[in-house]
Every structure is written in C-alpha cells, then in structure tokens.
C-alpha cells in the first residue's frame, strides 16, 4: 500500500537538496563551532551563512536571529523572555484564542506567575477581532502575541494591522509564524514585527531546528542557561547540520515561493471542489481567501473525525483532525470551537494540508476514499438516519 501524505502542516519531507547540504556536517565537518581550530571555524561560518539567509528572508539583521530547537522553543523563549524582561513595565499580555498550544500553555504558565493574559476572540472564519484587541490594551500591556497563520484552519491574520496597533501603543509584538514561513512573504520591518518564531520542518527542512527573530533592543531573558552560544541568549552546542539545513530550506522555499504556492493552492482548490461536489452536508472551515495555500479543513456532519482518520490511515492516507494530538483529548479543537462550530460538527473535522510533493492522482484517491468512508460511517450513524428520515432538512 502506498502512503499518501497530506499532513504537511504537521511536518514535511526533507527536500533532497536540503539533506545533501546537511550530510557533511555529521561525519566530516563535525567540529564544535565555538572552537578556534579550522574545522570549528568553518562550522561557525556555516552557521552565520545560514543566519544571514534567514535574516534576508525576514528583512532583519542577522544578529537579530537566534537558532533554537524548533517552533515551541522559539515561542516559549519569545513570550516568557519578553514578559520576564519587561515585568517592571507591566504584567499584561494579549494573545488570541486560536494560538498553538506552545503559545497558549506558555501564557497559562505566565498567568500562574502573576501575569494577566487577555485571549482575543476570532470571527467565524478565524480572523482576529481587531476592535477587541484595541479595547483590551491597558497601560500595563507589554506584549501582543498573535499567530501569523493558523495551523488548523489556515486563516491568515491581519498582521500588518496588529503590528501598527502595537507600534502605536509601544507594545512589543510577537508572532508565531511557524505555519506561515515558507508560504507567505514576511517583512518584519514593514509589518512592525518585534519577534517571530519559525520552524524548519514545516518548509521541507529537518526537525529539531528553528529560529527566533527578536528585534534589536527588545529586551528578553534567555531561555537556556549555560555557554555563550547564540550571542549569550541560547546555551548549547549548535546543531550545525540542522542550522545549515534550515538555511538551505528557507532559501529554497522563498526562491520558488510563487510557483510553490500556485501549485499547492491549485491542488487544494481542486480537493475542496471535489469534496463539495461529491459529499453532501459538509462545511469548509476557515476563510476562503485569507488562508494558507495548502490548507483545507472540512467538517463532515454526522461523523467522528477520529473514525475518519483511522479509516484513512488503513488506506494509507495521512491526514489529521483539528489538532495533531488525535489520541489525546476528546474535546474538540479549541480553534474550531472559537470560530463557533458546535461540538458535534467540530468533532467531524478533517485537516488535509497539501505540500509540494503531492499530485492530482493522490487527491483523486483521497476524494474517492473519503466518499466511500463517509458514506459507510454515515450509514452507521443513528443521527444520520434520523436526519434523512426527517427529510434531510436543517
């Protein structure tokens, strides 16, 4: 059975070109980048080259880029780091209700530590309520953290507007751009972003490596204590192969960005169109236009997302429900609830995220499989039976 991988928001396959540039750093150029001898110095150069690549894409200075172990570490470092470094100025943080757990759980932890957090609501498409954001700003507000694009429904937030509000009020603005980098052009200057998190494995780079941009002069407390690496902000011997991979991956992603986006958007639109045509009683979640090119999130009424996923897996298809943790909580996704879906509809949701390696044939296979599985599951559902007996109205 062939695997059809449609969970590119969860992670992506490492691009062959990325892998190629990483390989020498395992067994040939293995020196510690902090050392003074040649194989150390060469690695220092490789790291700084990668840092420059990231800085160029984000339009920031390379000494504003710090390498981390990934998106969650970047989010933790930015939010906790800025909060603790600025607590003499205030203890209020603003974020949204649809953030990734790396942000939400970090905020919850800060609440236990004396900070106050406002969680701003979103509209039915998942777009942040800017009026509510403005109204919730206090004299003590030190940080706004709003994701660039949502990981479940793909909605892209009005980052420029948020940046302007933050700048005007003198509040630091962090954005979790883990889903956005590799899909959207980002200019931290134009967008007034003070801090940004990204992760390599979302754009065909390796896992375990990410980066954090923090604007010069924004104070933040370091997250990992120890050696002086990353300009004394993040201790630990540098993951040279990972950093080199991240640099190559971000370079490739932005070299072919338009082409890449056009391709996956076309496949995504084809998928949604086919599902809408062939399966009744579905709901497409998220904004139709302001969304990531490869993301789709569809609720299939009268069906449990979990059963859908397991059946897809048995056919070799990798997709996900609202969140990545399918075996965990029974609670429906906090994102789908935040856009106002009732529990029973949120439960039957499927995220299909398309990447550059997917083909139309794969989409056809997935749609055919979905038609069959959805029909079978609905035929077992008493709610469906009742719904059809009542003439299928409401």
């Amino acid at each position: 059975m062939n695997t059809v991988y449609l969970d590119n928001s969860a992670t992506t396959k490492v691009d062959d070109e990325v892998l190629k540039v990483m390989l020498p750093y395992f067994s040939q150029n293995y020196g510690n980048a902090s050392s003074i001898y040649s194989i150390g110095r060469e690695n220092r150069k490789a790291i700084e080259d990668a840092r420059e690549k990231v800085a160029k894409i984000l339009n920031c200075n390379s000494n504003e880029v710090y390498f981390t172990a990934g998106g969650s570490e970047s989010d933790n470092t930015a939010i906790k780091g800025i909060a603790y470094a600025n607590k003499n100025k205030g203890n209020h943080i603003i974020t949204s209700k649809i953030e990734h757990p790396a942000v939400l759980e970090t905020c919850k932890k800060l609440e236990k530590d004396g900070f106050e957090v406002s969680y701003i609501s979103v509209d039915e498409n998942g777009i942040l309520n800017l009026e509510e954001l403005k109204d919730s700003i206090r004299p003590t507000t030190i940080l706004i953290s709003v994701m660039f694009a949502n990981n479940e429904i793909g909605t892209i937030q009005p980052i420029k507007e948020i940046g302007e509000i933050a700048k005007e009020k003198g509040i630091y603005f962090h954005t979790d751009a883990v889903q956005a980098v590799g899909n959207i052009k980002i200019d931290v200057e134009k967008l007034n972003i003070d801090s940004l998190s990204l992760s390599a494995h979302k754009f065909y780079g390796p896992k375990g490596i990410g980066a954090l941009y923090v604007r010069k002069n924004v104070p933040f407390v370091k997250f990992i204590d120890g050696g002086h690496q990353e300009r004394n902000k993040r201790a630990g011997t540098e993951n040279v192969a990972g950093i080199v991979g991240l640099g190559k991956a971000i370079e490739l992603a932005y070299k072919d960005l338009d082409e890449h986006n056009e391709k996956i958007k076309k496949l995504r639109d084809y998928y949604v169109e086919q599902v809408e045509k062939r399966i009744p009683y579905i709901k497409v979640n998220g904004d139709r236009n302001k969304r990531l090119p490869g993301n789709s999130n569809i609720s299939f009424r009268f069906i449990e997302g979990e059963s859908l996923l397991l059946n897809l897996d048995l056919k070799g298809i990798c997709a996900s429900s609202g969140s990545a943790c399918t075996s965990g909580s029974l609670d429906p996704s906090h994102v789908l609830l935040a856009i106002g879906l009732p529990h029973e509809i949120a439960h039957g949701s499927l995220r299909v995220s398309i990447g550059k390696y997917n083909t139309k044939e794969e989409i056809d296979y997935v749609v055919d499989s979905l038609v069959e599985i959805v029909e079978r599951l609905r035929n077992m559902s008493p709610l469906w039976e009742e719904f059809i007996e009542n003439g299928g109205n409401n």
Binding site: E304, E306, S307, L310, N311, D313, L314, S327, G328, S329, L330, R376, L377, M380
Partner: protein, 352 residues
C-alpha cells in the same frame, strides 16, 4: 481478503499473545488500546506505559495500533456506576460494566466503523457453536480458576458471531507467557494486574472519599434484633460476608449480613445466617433461547471467585428468581449472578 479483527490491547501479556495468535491464524489485526481514566498511574492495566507497551508489541508484529479515547464513556458507565453502587450499599464489579459498555459497546462500534469483521480480547473465554442451542454461544475457557466467562455475560446476543477469544483453549497463564517468551515479547514477564484499573493502589475507600460526595458517616453495628454491638465508620466500608475489621469481640465470629441505608446500620450475625437459598436478579442478559416462564435447572455463580451451584430460575415480572438447591453463602447485592448450562453461559444479571 483476510478477515479483519479489532483487538483490544491492554499492554499486558494476555492481549499481546492474543495479537500473535490472531496474526498466526491469518487475520488482519488492528490493535487498539482504550484510554479510560485520567489519573492513570503506573502499574494499573491501562496506564500510559501500558499504551506504549501495546504500541511496541504492535510495532513488533507490524500491525497498526490506535489509542481510543473512551474516558467520557468510562467515567459515565463504569466509574459513576461504581460510586452509585457504594452509595446504595451494593458491591459492584466494575469489570462487568466495562465489558458491557466499553469493550463490547464503544469498542465494537469502533470496529464496525473501521470495517472489521470481528472484535477480540485477551479474555479467558470461548465462543463456540452449540448443537443444543443451534447458535454461537459464550462458554467457559479451559483455564479453570482463571476463566473469565463470568465477567462477559453482558455481551449482546447479536455480537456473539463477531467476537473472538484467542486464549480460550489455553489451560493456564504459563502457556501464554511461554508463547510471549518464544516471540521475544518484552511484556512476557509483566506481572498480572489484579486491582481495579482506576484504583491501582486498591484503596477503594479513599477513592470513594476523593471522587464522590460519599463521606464517612458513622453509625451502629447491630445484630438481627437491632441490639447495638459497636460502631461502623461508614457503610461503604463494609461488604456482605466480611468478618475482619468490625472491632467487636464476640464468642462466635461475626459477619456482615446486610447494610441498612435508611437506618445507617451494619447488621451482623453468625456465619450460619449468611446462607441464603433464594434471591432476585435484575438487568439481566440472556444469551440462549430458554423459556424463562418455566422453572429451568442450571448452575449459578454469584461472584467471580465463587464456584457455581445448582439452582432453578424463573421469570418474575422484570426480574428473575434464583432458588438454590442448597443455601449459599454471602449473596451480595450489586454482584452478578451468572447462569451456566455445563460450560455454556446462559445469561446473568445483577443481584437485587
């Protein structure tokens, strides 16, 4: 195409070996572990570690494994029922509820959704074709004391054609462990789980106090003539037939005979008084075609660890009356009475 089986896996040696056996028999096996209880603690049958043990076994056997979240159903049908029973002075057997609502309820539904032909578990029981009843029946395994057919009597009749018990022919656990060792399963030497899975330390009194509104309400221990003999610490701390922990000195050993909720009394007496000849059951499930309107002679087992004894049963409105040939000891409300015709499970229900 091979028949598809959904196998419930706890991570223990029994269900792991069941996976091996089903695979050897040519089934397409899907392993699932039910996530049942929030406060999962190391060492109980369904702890996080067990889930990963089950996953590791499935990895090794190259079969898919999923974790199914049934916490809500488990709490509703098993944990709350357990608490309600103690509130009403009954002694529950939560494994019976779990089998009814979770394994042969929610898990069966999941099996259908996944297009499986069967569900299977590592229970020591059999499904076999009975000439006498002209259908598939639930029957005792070959495991003697370890047999678990008693806790399975609530399997719905229509499901019997879709259930497999791969361990039914084995005589003891050593044989199972031997298979596990031969296959190099890491779980081969894992100890048996004995306690109630959601009370891994076995302290059900503390569990009740922490998870329900049951509070220790002291009262009198009395004899059948309502003469006060001592004090009790709360009715939920006592069960029928209990001798220890009464704190009463008496020339003859005293046993708990009854719990009176209204008067908040524990009624005690001598062993002879524990023996009862007849009782009623409710919420019964009958698995074979018998005429309940007439007296039927069968063997009846009134708790998991008891032997079965000869009795006659008859329907009385929505209950069944059970009359033993000889009086039996400590018939306890809340426990189940299960009827056997030879090795065949005829049915069973809750002692009123």
């Amino acid at each position: 195409m091979n028949k598809k089986v959904l196998l419930g896996m706890s991570g223990g040696v029994d269900s792991s070996v069941a996976a091996i056996l089903l695979k050897e028999q040519g089934y397409e096996v899907i392993g699932v572990t039910m996530k049942l209880w929030e406060g999962e603690i190391e060492g109980s049958c369904c702890s996080l570690n067990s889930t990963s043990d089950a996953k590791r076994v499935c990895d090794y056997l190259k079969i898919p494994h999923y974790t199914l979240n049934f916490k809500d159903d488990f709490n509703k049908y098993v944990v709350q029922d357990f608490i309600d029973n103690y509130k009403n002075c009954r002694t529950p057997n939560p494994c019976i509820e779990c089998n009814k609502y979770l394994k042969f309820g929610a898990m069966f539904k999941k099996a259908q959704e996944l297009g499986c032909d069967y569900i299977a578990t590592g229970h020591y029981a059999k499904i076999l074709y009975s000439e006498k009843y002209g259908k598939n029946v639930l029957a005792k395994s070959n495991a003697g004391k370890k047999d678990q057919s008693y806790v399975l009597y609530n399997i719905p009749d229509y499901m019997l054609d879709h259930v497999l018990f791969p361990l039914g022919d084995f005589k003891n656990k050593d044989e199972i462990r031997e298979i596990a060792r031969k296959n190099n399963l890491l779980v081969a030497n894992k100890p048996d789980s004995e306690d109630i899975c959601f009370i891994p330390d076995g302290n059900y009194k503390r569990f009740l106090e922490e998870n329900s509104n049951i509070k220790p309400q002291k009262g009198n221990i009395v004899n059948s003539k309502e003469e006060v003999l001592g004090k009790h610490t709360g009715l939920y701390n006592y069960t029928i037939g209990q001798r220890r922990g009464l704190g009463i000195s008496s020339p003859k050993p005293l046993y708990v005979l009854k719990l009176n909720k209204k008067k908040n009394q524990v009624i005690v007496g001598v062993e002879k008084e524990l023996y009862i000849k007849e009782f009623l059951i409710k919420d019964f499930n009958i698995l074979v075609d018998i005429d309940l309107s007439k007296w039927t002679s069968l063997y009846v087992k009134t708790r998991y660890s008891a032997k079965e004894y000869k009795a006659n049963i008859i329907l009385e409105e929505d209950k069944i009356r059970v009359v033993f040939d000889e009086p039996q000891r400590a018939i306890t409300p809340g426990q189940s009475a299960v009827f056997y015709d030879g090795d065949v499970v005829v049915g069973g229900g809750k002692i009123v």
